[in-house]
Symmetry: C2
């Protein structure tokens, strides 16, 4: 039996290997060209880092479906299940990362967040106009890149349909998120619906797109979509927990910023139901003014109310459910990695 | 022979008839649903009016290609040239109008314009967050709507490719436009390149999409794309002329706002080459502070430099070139209408 540490190290190594390939592919798909300032701004966050979890889910799902050994297949020329013409799976992987980056740029404007991945947000590093336009450029580029996979036309059409409806749902989720900031009666179910739309759908798209592009059956596509929704919701819940528990430096932004900005999380929604005066846990509305001691006190109160455990338990249940759905896949190393990735999403420390 | 007035009235009637059908289709393709505020904001400018010129070009081109009598075919179920399954041409028409509306919402934020079509801009009527998100929602909705045309998969793929690259070019053009505001050495050619990307490509897409969706040959697709580029550039040049010559009330925004905001137009680019001190034609940078008399004086100076005639001549040449390209189409009533539409774009008074 392997130790938990060894298992986590193996997952991280698998993520790292795929991340490097994705990092190489991003400048190939999104070269800096005229007008340079626009493309530099579009690439700014992509180049600043990121774990590339969604592309990793996508590439690993492709390997599991094709039943090939880890990293043995050429992602740029991946053989479909019916052995029709090769599919550029890396293009699909970059496409979802580009969508993710577009949403981060626009979200940072909307949430007035100054820092992202330890660097200034795009609207801070450049300006509001450039940030809006950089996001808009990435938006259409994601579609252009997905159009280059070379898959059969009916599969490309289905893949683009998933991409477009995913983007619409992300907007709907972000809209709900903004509305929730002014509400004090959001239920856990409403919160989870919002998280599904805002965050989980892009994991769902990442998991089901290889099945679509490689020509898998509808049952497989649906099961993988469900896996993505489950682990995506778990990921967001864990993100909300980490926002309270990880030092600012490691987080790349102020710890507790969600609390300061009155963002709803599963933790605050639960705490409010337990009678905690969530709106007054932190006195200030300004992330630059809050102290570490204030955040510590707030976290202690949320722990006493059982809200952090509640969030952890919900995330664990979602991960277990997601892993079960993977039984549609052949039993292989890549499927095991998808299970371990799911575990990692809620065990990760940042 | 018909009089110019009778000809213009006939074009306007043809535009009106198609506009009404497009206006009926917009709420069908973009119903107000949860989250309501987001969809209301997304529909706000679309519902405020607009001439629907791009959808009219698209629908009329479809009629010309199919060689059917004006308004005789059912746009929702249009027969392709090879008589394969019916195509929802109205969905394609709404899709380009939705793209247009998304760009207006984001452009108004970037240009800090308060008024559009005589009503407050979306970021004024709602707020910045909602306006960004409404634009983002329309962006993906345009792709979703185009995916619903029911055309053959390879044609849908090509249509989506045109839509995606068009959006990318619009962003590139808008980026150049913003950059040009701080430059005093923009040449007429550079200006026309910017206009091609920012404005003309959506006319080009509108003209060539029916050819793609109905299965026309590449020569026809290319010629129609060229027609759209030509009339689209002419349209923007005329818009720049109208910004100086049409009363604010009729324009739906302050007359001369381009001059006040130091926006480059073909007129100012030409005038600068003639030695006019364009940057000091108007003293203020604030559209709310400028007087009608100041605008009148500026226009008189631009007229003396020959810059307004130069813009009018350039637009006329482009329209003539665009009309020539239509010879790939069968000689029919719809083709005549496309010629008259081209003339209308530069003869219109607002």
């Amino acid at each position: 039996m392997t130790s938990p540490e060894a298992r986590e190290e193996a997952v991280l190594e698998a993520v790292r290997q795929r991340r490097e390939l994705v990092n190489d592919a991003i400048p190939e798909e999104l070269p800096i060209k005229r007008p340079e300032r626009l493309y530099e701004a579009s690439r700014y966050l992509l180049d600043a880092g990121g774990k590339r979890l969604r592309p990793t889910v996508l590439l690993t799902t492709a390997e599991a479906l094709a039943d090939v050994e880890s990293l043995s297949a050429e992602y740029r020329s991946f053989t479909p299940l019916d052995e029709s013409g090769p599919v550029d799976m890396m293009a699909a992987a970059v496409s979802v990362e580009v969508i993710q980056s577009f949403t981060l740029i626009h979200d940072d404007i909307m949430d007035d967040d100054d820092l992202r991945r330890g660097v200034p947000a795009v609207h801070e590093e450049y300006d509001l106009e450039t940030a809006i336009l950089a996001g808009d450029t990435l938006y259409s580029k994601a579609f252009e890149i997905m159009l280059e996979t070379g898959a059969e036309p009916d599969r490309i059409v289905e893949a683009l349909d998933v991409l477009a409806t995913t983007c619409t749902k992300i907007c709907e989720g972000q809209s709900l998120d903004v509305t929730f900031e002014e509400q004090t009666d959001v239920s856990p179910d409403e919160y989870l619906e919002m998280v599904e739309q805002k965050t989980a759908v892009l994991y769902a798209a990442s998991a089901c797109l290889p099945a679509i592009l490689l020509g898998a059956d509808d049952e497989t596509i649906d099961a993988l979509y469900g896996y993505g929704l489950d682990i995506g919701r778990a990921f967001q819940i864990q993100d909300d927990v980490l926002d309270l528990t990880v030092p600012s430096e490691q987080l790349g932004k102020q710890r507790g910023s969600d609390l300061v900005e009155n963002k709803q999380t599963l933790i605050t929604v639960h705490a409010r139901e337990q009678g905690v005066d969530v709106d007054n846990l932190v006195d200030t509305d300004d992330v630059d003014a809050v102290t570490e001691a204030e955040i510590d006190d707030a976290v202690a109160e949320l722990e006493t109310a059982g809200s952090i455990s509640y969030a952890n338990d919900t995330a664990s249940d979602l991960v277990a459910q997601g892993k079960n759905r993977l039984e549609v896949l052949p039993d292989n190393e890549a499927r095991d990695l998808l299970c371990e990735l799911a575990d990692y999403l809620i065990e990760r420390g940042y």
